[in-house]
Structure formats: C-alpha cells, structure tokens
C-alpha cells in the first residue's frame, strides 16, 4: 500500500475565459519510507499539489489516496480526522502559535484529536527530544532561534502516528547550515511507515529526497532516476 497516490489530479481556478489550470492530470505515487521532492518555478503548481495531497483543498478532477483512504469518499469529519492523525504539515513560516509553549504547540494536534492532555504532552516531549529540543519544551516561540522554531514545527508535524509529512519550503529563510539540519531531520523522519513530500525551488533542499519530481505548468514533466550510488562519485577521476 502506497503512502500517497495522486491519480489524474487536476485543479482549475476560475471559470470560463478566466480559467487557470494549476494542475493538469498529475499522477504521483509515494511509497512508505520514501521522501519525494517536487521542484518547479513559481506558479508551476507546487503548493497546490501539496495542499491537495494534504486534503486541505479538493481537486477539480482525479483522486487522492492517503494510505488506504480515498479522500473524495470521506465525509468532512473523516477528512479532518485524517488530517489531524495521519498527515503532518511543515510550512515555510513555521506557523507556531505565539501564546503556546513549544510542548503545547506540538501536543495541540493530538489534543484536538481527543488524546488526553497528559498523554499528548508525553508524546510532544518525545517528539521534541528526538529533535534535540528537550530543554526548550517550556519556551515560547519568541524565545527560540529561527532554527529551533523550525524544529518545533517539525516536531509538531511528526508527533503521534503520522504517516505522511508534507513540507512547503521547509527551511524557510534559514541559512544553508540550518536549512540542511532541517532537511536531515525530514529525511530521518521519512522511514518505515512514514513518507514525505517536500515542495521547493531549491535544488540543494530537493537533493535530500530519494526522488525529485519536476513540475512545469501544472504537469509533471520529468523525475530523477534512482541513484547510481555514492561509489560513482568517489571513484571519480583523480584529475578532477
């Protein structure tokens, strides 16, 4: 069973002469443990693809399946539950709630899903600890550095039993070394039953993915093939 399947997904905004195709018949399958990067210029449909994959937006045509759940056949309530339980989102601007501590930000999706406060807090502390933020649990977002805020956002995305991590330019405005740390964490998170999709225009971020899919004018036009392996680089000609 794939973690995410998009079949013939199209998205049209507007009507009549003003119609704009954001996505055109996109087919994409992401397997458990796989991290896929979607690269494309501004306006290529990257963010639309992510919001549709995360069931935050409905496709005009086509089908989205998250795990075993065909999203179009779910009720509004079931869809909301799927978003809370199975899908974790990481946004460019972190989207942390300023009035909540790190631990409260991370436990919030679980509590909204009905998990008791104490159990939700325990799960949040585990997620924060995994991201090296155990000592920041009681801090508010404005008491954290940019890199720490983004790690809290990742902890919130992976807390509990998430199966699909969706990230939109997850390193935001972080510098290269912090951006790399974020991608390393996203990469480590996507294993076992957990899969991830990252949309970015940044090739260095995309290169952390197992597979890079190229989007142009709402269509998938190309993708990278499985790697030849690092050996091919290390056996390089000494004259290089």
């Amino acid at each position: 069973m794939s973690a995410l399947t998009l079949t013939g997904v199209s998205k049209v905004y507007g009507k009549g002469a003003g119609q704009v195709y954001a996505l055109r018949a996109v087919d994409l399958t992401v397997e458990p443990g796989e991290l896929v990067a979607v690269m494309g210029p501004s306006g290529s449909g990257k963010s639309t693809l992510l919001t549709i994959a995360g069931s935050l937006e409905e496709p005009t045509d086509g089908e989205v399946t998250v795990g075993e759940s065909p999203v179009s056949r779910l009720s509004r309530g079931e869809r909301a539950a799927l978003r809370r339980r199975a899908i974790g989102y990481v946004f460019q601007d972190f989207n942390l709630l300023a009035g909540l501590t790190s631990a409260e930000n991370v436990s919030l999706p679980l509590e909204l899903d009905g998990v008791a406060g104490r159990a939700a807090r325990a799960a949040a502390l585990v997620a924060l600890d995994r991201l090296g933020l155990a000592d920041r649990a009681g801090r508010f977002p404005d008491e954290l550095s940019g890199g720490e805020r983004q790690r809290v956002a990742i902890a919130r995305a992976v807390v509990g039993e998430r199966r699909l991590i969706l990230a939109d330019e997850p390193s935001g405005a972080l510098d290269s070394v912090n951006g790399e740390a974020v991608m390393r964490l996203v990469r480590e998170t996507c294993q076992g039953a957990v899969a991830g999709v990252v949309v970015t225009h940044d090739a260095q971020l995309a290169s952390w993915a197992d597979r890079v899919v190229f989007l142009r004018d709402g269509r998938i036009i190309d993708q990278t093939t499985p790697a030849r392996g690092p050996e091919s680089l290390l056996d390089a000609d000494p004259a290089r």
Partner: protein, 195 residues
C-alpha cells in the same frame, strides 16, 4: 588542485614520509581526490630541487625517507594560500553552448534540453547529498568538499532555471507548446559578440 601546495601544507605540521603524505592528503580531502604514490614522490623530488622542502639524507626517494618544509617553502605556502584562484569563466562553457545551440536547431525544444541538464545536475546533487548524509559528524573535510560540489551544481541548476524563465519571457518558447515554435536567433548573436 595543487598537489604541490597540499604536500607543503601537510609538511608544515612536521616531518613526514611519502606514503604518510599520500594517506593524509586523501583523508584531508575527504578521499574525494585519490592520489597515486608515484605522483607524491615526483612532486616531493621537485619540491626538494626547488629548495622548498629538505630530506634527511642522500638516499633515493622511498618509503624510508622523511621530508620537512624549509623557510622558503613556508613562505611559498603562505603566498599560495592568499593568492586568489582563477575564478574567471571558462572561455566556452559546454552547457551554455548546448543551450544556445538548442535555441537554433529546428525540431529541438530548448526547454526539454534545459530539463535534461537540470535533471542530470539534480541527480548528481542527490548522490553528493547521500554521501554527506552517511558521513560522520567529524568528517569535516568531506563535508566541506561536498558543500563545494553542491554549490557548484546548484549554480548550474539556477542558471538553467533562469535561462528557462528568460526564454519563456522573451517568447522564444511557448508556455507548453509544440516544438515547431522556433526561436529567434537574437540571443545567440548577442553572446557571439561577448565571446
């Protein structure tokens, strides 16, 4: 890559043997640039001839011969470290030429040519990133070498992205049209003048 100066740098830490120099060179460059021992000994002979290093005795260069840097050698190393490398663009960048040519060849869609090169560059970046990911946190030299490769390839991808956007804006390629819409050769002439 100056093997000559890399060896001077290693010897500036203290006297060393040829084989040791080869092993340390490879370790310091993250084993990305293999070096054969013959190359090490030839370079050492030249450095000694030029008075930049000296050895223990009169013996032939071999595993038992130890070398150390001279005052002139240390000065040469310092000058080299501070001398900017040649960062001017190569006279003919193969990738740039391929894209420029693709604009003019009938039946070839330049954006597809751009995408082929973009995919190749990103695949190489994925391979380097995998090496970086598997490297230990103490493998600093390797991380620095990989960063340099990633930034170089990243600049290739950015140029291709920019070329793609510029061609589209100039109307030389349709948004998603047939390959029959052949471009105006104007941009090529502009570059011919520059070259």
């Amino acid at each position: 890559m100056s093997v000559r100066h890399a060896l001077l740098a290693l010897l500036s830490e203290g006297p060393k043997y040829g084989l040791q120099l080869r092993d340390e060179f490879e370790a310091r460059t993250g084993e990305v640039w293999p070096l054969n021992v013959g190359q090490v000994y030839t370079t050492l002979q030249r450095l000694e001839r030029d008075g930049l290093i000296e050895s223990d005795g009169e013996d032939e260069v071999g595993p038992q011969k130890s070398f150390r840097v001279t005052v002139d050698g240390a000065a040469e190393l310092d000058t080299w470290l501070r001398t900017p490398p040649d960062l001017s663009a190569p006279p003919r960048d193969e990738l740039v030429i391929k894209v420029l040519v693709a604009i003019r060849v009938p039946g070839v869609e330049v954006r597809d040519v751009i995408q082929t090169h973009r995919r190749h560059a990103v695949e190489l970046m994925q391979e380097w990133t995998r090496v970086k990911r598997d490297a230990g946190p103490d493998e600093l030299s390797l991380a620095l070498v990989i960063d340099a490769e990633l930034f170089r390839l990243d600049s290739v991808v950015r140029w291709l992205d920019t070329a793609d956007a510029r061609l589209r804006r100039a109307g030389t390629v349709p948004a998603s049209g047939p390959p029959s819409a052949l471009p105006d050769p104007g941009p090529v002439r502009a570059v011919e003048v520059r070259r």
